[in-house]
Amino acid sequence: MEKVLGVIDAISEWTGKLSSFLIAILTLVICYDIIVRYVFSSPTAWGYDVTYMIYGVYAMLGMAYCDKMKGHVRMDLIYSNLSERGKAWMDAICYLILFFPALIVITYKCGDHSIWALLAGERSSGSVWRPYLGPFKLLITFGFLLLILQGVAGFLRSLATALKEGRRIS
């Protein structure tokens, strides 16, 4: 099982690290857009769409990574006073009640919607560029899938810690 968990961690970590560079790309894209608009008075048709698409994909592909790095904020009023095993029990139960059901519903519905967008040839509706939205939406769904995968790892780990007497699994 250790091995499987390690693979999941690695997937989260590497998708996160790779997509983290999108912020630098977003910065450059916006600066380019500003320059051609302000200096050359010839704004790009794609500036608006590319900006929110990079932002959306970037944020979503970081979800699993953030979870792996324990970056999602917790309200620790009670939690911080629990023992390691207490925390593990709490987490394992919460994964079952507060994580998997919601995340599976969100992912399923987003996936369903993305496939519709792809098949219907849905395009962006504001700017004159009007790119296809299907691929963008599928990438977002992919981000949710990665998060669920990381959640599986988190759940198994919590469960192992909770069940193991005295010893912690790393």
């Binding site: 608009r37 008075s41 010839s42 704004p43 790009t44 048709a45 500036g47 608006y48 769409d49 219907a120 849905e122 395009r123 962006s124 509706s125 504001g126 700017s127 004159v128 009007r130 939205l133």
Partner: protein
Amino acid sequence: AQDKVIKWKVQGFVPAGMLFHETLVRTANLVKEVTGGRLIWEVYPAGALVPPFEGLKAVSDGVYDVNYSYTGQWVGKIPVAPLFTAAPGGLNVVDMQMWLEYGGGKQLFQEMYDKYGYNVKVFLGAPISMEIFLWSKKPLRTLKDFKGLKLRMMPVMGDVLTKNGLPVVFMPAGEIIPNLQRGVIDAAEYSIPAFDKSLGIWQVCKYLQVPGIHQPASQTEFIVNKKSYEALPADLKVLLDAAIWKSRLEDWLWMEAKNLEAMDFFKEKGITIVQMDPETVRTFTKWAQDYLDERGAKDEFFGKVWNSQKAFGKKWYPYSKMFTLPH
């Protein structure tokens, strides 16, 4: 089942303080009145249930029952949709009503939603006459005033201008006024006078350009989820239709009166109304029509709608000109 009250959720396309929210509330009141309280529209402002540009898909999916909007919002989902709000360089508000009722427009409208697989039934709401073309910080009379201008314009006119060497900027509606104020853009298409008055765009732009080539009319629509509609008893279907018809005429004229007020208000505030050079207006109109011809040649259904409007115009324009006095 006679006394069972049916409740429908209805979302509009503007925030609650705006004119088109008031028309929605007025329609909802009419529906209640005409049906004797048997059909109730619970009104939600834009974005309360789903983002405004998603109303079509949401109603089709059954997230809620009715969406009040204009078809320009569906341009990403159905390329021809904006022509049912207005075609740039096309039909005026009265022309549009005639085309919809007696030029085959209404049938094409429903055909469009069916063809693209949306599970909705369309009802026509109030139209309103031409929009203001642009708000700007300097007067825009002739084509050369547009060169190098940082301009915000929505589809389809945005496509027309871009294609003819006047690239447009796109930004969220809410950021337009602050960006005009700070000079990120020089001019922007906004809306009808009554709408523009309340949001204060006149505080940052001293010039407004007419005529609104990009949007000679604005037709609104109510799209109803087909399942919700079919579930209505037969008499309620008739009453619903009657209520919406009443609101269509009442709200149209009511908004025109508001527009009149707003234009007086702008004059009072020292806004200069720039009547654009006729040659430039002709050029923009020609660009728009050529663009629509081109799109129509590539996309069959697009062509069907545009040609239907053109054909009706050919019959209608000479007649309406002949029977109008030169005031």
